[in-house]
Amino acid sequence: MYVYDEHDRLILAERVAQFRDQTDRALAGELSEDEFLPLRLQNGLYVQRFAPMLRICVPYGMMRSGQLRRLARITRDYDKGYAHFTTRQNVQLNWPALEDVPDILAELAEVEMHANQTSGNCIRNTTTDQFSGVQVDEVVDPRPYCEIIRQWSTFHPEFAFLPRKFKIAVNASEHTDRAAIQVHDIGLQVVKNDAGDLGFRVHVGGGLGRTPMVGPVIREFLPEHDLLTYLEAVVRVYNRYGRRDNKYKARIKILVKALSPEGFAEKVEAEWAHLKGSPTKLTAEAIERVQAYFTEPAYETVADQSDALAKLRFENKAFDNWVGRNVDSHKKAGYAIVTLTMKATGTPPGDVSDRQLEQIADLADQFSFGEIRVTHQQNVVLADVRQDQLFELWQAIIPMGFATPNLNTLTDIICCPGGDYCALANAKSIPVAESIQRRFDNLDFLYDLGNIDLNISGCMNACGHHHVGNIGVLGVDKKGEEFYQVSLGGSSQHDATIGKILGPSFAQEDMPDVIEKIVDVYVKNRNDEEEFIDTYRRIGIDPFKERVYA
């Protein structure tokens, strides 16, 4: 993965000094609350329900074992000994003290980490597929582009005060979209044109929140070298013309809708005509320099272990379940991709203790070249595990709580921190997730149900991505009481769709029953191997409505 050079280190060191000065001035009363707000937000610092919350950036989800160990130490020294993996592949601390934050940032900087632009109305962490670089079906590894975008967007002087936050995601797989690019402000799909040149299909104006939208394509093919000049044109048009009078209408999706995708694209093209030949146009050398950091690790020459694995799986049902669910195929013979699930029933999705962070670091060192990836589903990936070490790894992670074999099943729930932690939330989300996990504790039944995305958000801000869950749950507040609205049919894949609301909302205690009825309608109506989303698309929402509200 990317390693800082002297330029990156200098810029980060200067940033740490700057934020220390800003915090000092805020504590001394020289900056009003209002003036300090965007400064601390652009350093990932929220003031939450019980304490400040610090969101630490994990660029496109990648970390080294040393960084995990440092995070563990920070959670012990400055927090309550645990951290939370977010749906933007970042890490949050829930209890740091404001006056400690400059020291925390200094400690992070020592391991090339920071909290830059993890919040605020600026360009946020660029995200991508957690299987980048190791999966079979990708056009090219997207991570170098993410790093190039990270550098371009870091402290961009023109775009520090956009109308609203701005999120970019990149995907390079032809068949899957684990980065959910079509619900981002800008979604970039890596493609090759007929001439074999690399480039991007550009989606703009997708998003969740109050007005969920799938981002339309505004350019079918953007040559690779034009990436940054084009992004600059898009963001400049947004900065100038995006609405600033109403925070709920300030995202770029509203501008794209108002101008129409064609009208917006024309404005971008006109702006880009001035920029495309500028020195910001990428050079082959610049791309190659970054690509050189994302080369293959020192793989050993080993054969696929199909027979040996088949034997182990036959002999051990639990191992078989785990391999079937949590292990994915790797582009390299003899290797596999392992997802460590952070979704054991009874623990808030994405929460990890300091000890667990260190355990993950040890596992990375022992089994996967010292690197991990955080997923937007709040799990952790070991991307390069030798197949002949899978059994040993599995045995090691069972007592750690990372082997729950439920990846992509109904109980692999995406869930925001909700009303237990977040000041914005209308309702709790974690207890709902837990009650559903408890109801569906039979693995055979879960596997029979196959892939189902269940996403829960505690409010309209949609951090739990409920709109694109096959089943989405949204916490709503009705006269001071918490209720839950259910939507069906959402997807964040290449066929991205916003879910449809089923009907009136439900009380918290009814949620497991409601989910059970929905699942029941699916089971009764599915054909053969049909997945939940496909059955839903075939039969529509009415059969579900009839059953749930009967």
């Binding site: 050079d5 330029h7 200098l10 810029i11 200067e14 940033r15 000094a17 700057q18 000065d21 800003q22 020289e30 900056l31 003036e35 965007p38 400064l39 109305n121 190039i148 550098q151 371009w152 870091t154 402290f155 961009h156 002087p157 023109e158 775009f159 520090a160 005060f161 956009l162 109308p163 940054l228 400049r236 900065n239 100038r240 600033r244 001035h274 500028s278 020195p279 910001t280 990428l282 050079t283 050398e285 610049a286 320099r289």
Partner: protein
């Protein structure tokens, strides 16, 4: 007389007056001394104002700098108003005036101008800053210079870091 901060952080006395837009029907009254008037009024009275070294313009953050294409260097000072420090449109206006329309003279930030935004203004082509009066001008130099390097090209440098790394 209020102070104006230059991009090197020095603090100088300033005698430019920002003239507010007259109410509809009222005429534009110019006070003594050099003045900054609303951009569209300068354009409307171009034959009268052009070439005068004591009349410049100011833009609101929603104004389109495109209106000054071809005229910029007839102006001794262009000011851009930041109605609220969190309104970032002025940064794009600054870059367009400098990089697209080739403006050479003083580009001034006015309005809700605070210390922590000076670095961005400088990179986007502003070289004079009318710091809000309650802010400590002696800290401007430090705030303008927190960073000695940057990743991207802007008005201050057209060479992004990736091109400097390569050489």
């Amino acid at each position: 007389m209020p102070d104006i901060i230059s991009k090197d952080g020095s603090i100088n006395a300033d005698n430019w007056t920002v003239v507010a837009r007259p109410a509809p029907g009222d005429s534009l009254d110019l006070p003594e001394g050099p003045v900054l008037i609303p951009m569209d009024l300068w354009i409307a009275g171009q034959e009268h104002f052009s070439g005068r070294t004591d009349v410049g313009v100011w833009l609101e953050s929603h104004d389109e700098p495109e209106a000054l294409d071809g005229l910029v260097n007839e102006l001794p000072v262009i000011a851009v108003n930041f109605p609220k420090f969190s309104d970032g449109r002025g940064y794009s206006i600054g870059r367009l005036l400098r990089e697209r329309f080739g403006y050479q003279n003083e580009l001034r930030a006015i309005g809700d101008v605070l210390l922590d935004q000076l670095q961005f203004m400088k990179r986007c082509g502003f070289d004079a800053y009318a710091l809000r009066e309650d802010k400590d001008a002696s800290k401007a130099a430090a705030c303008l210079n927190f960073f000695s390097n940057s990743y991207q090209a802007a008005t201050d440098t057209d060479v992004p870091l990736f091109r400097r790394r390569a050489s």
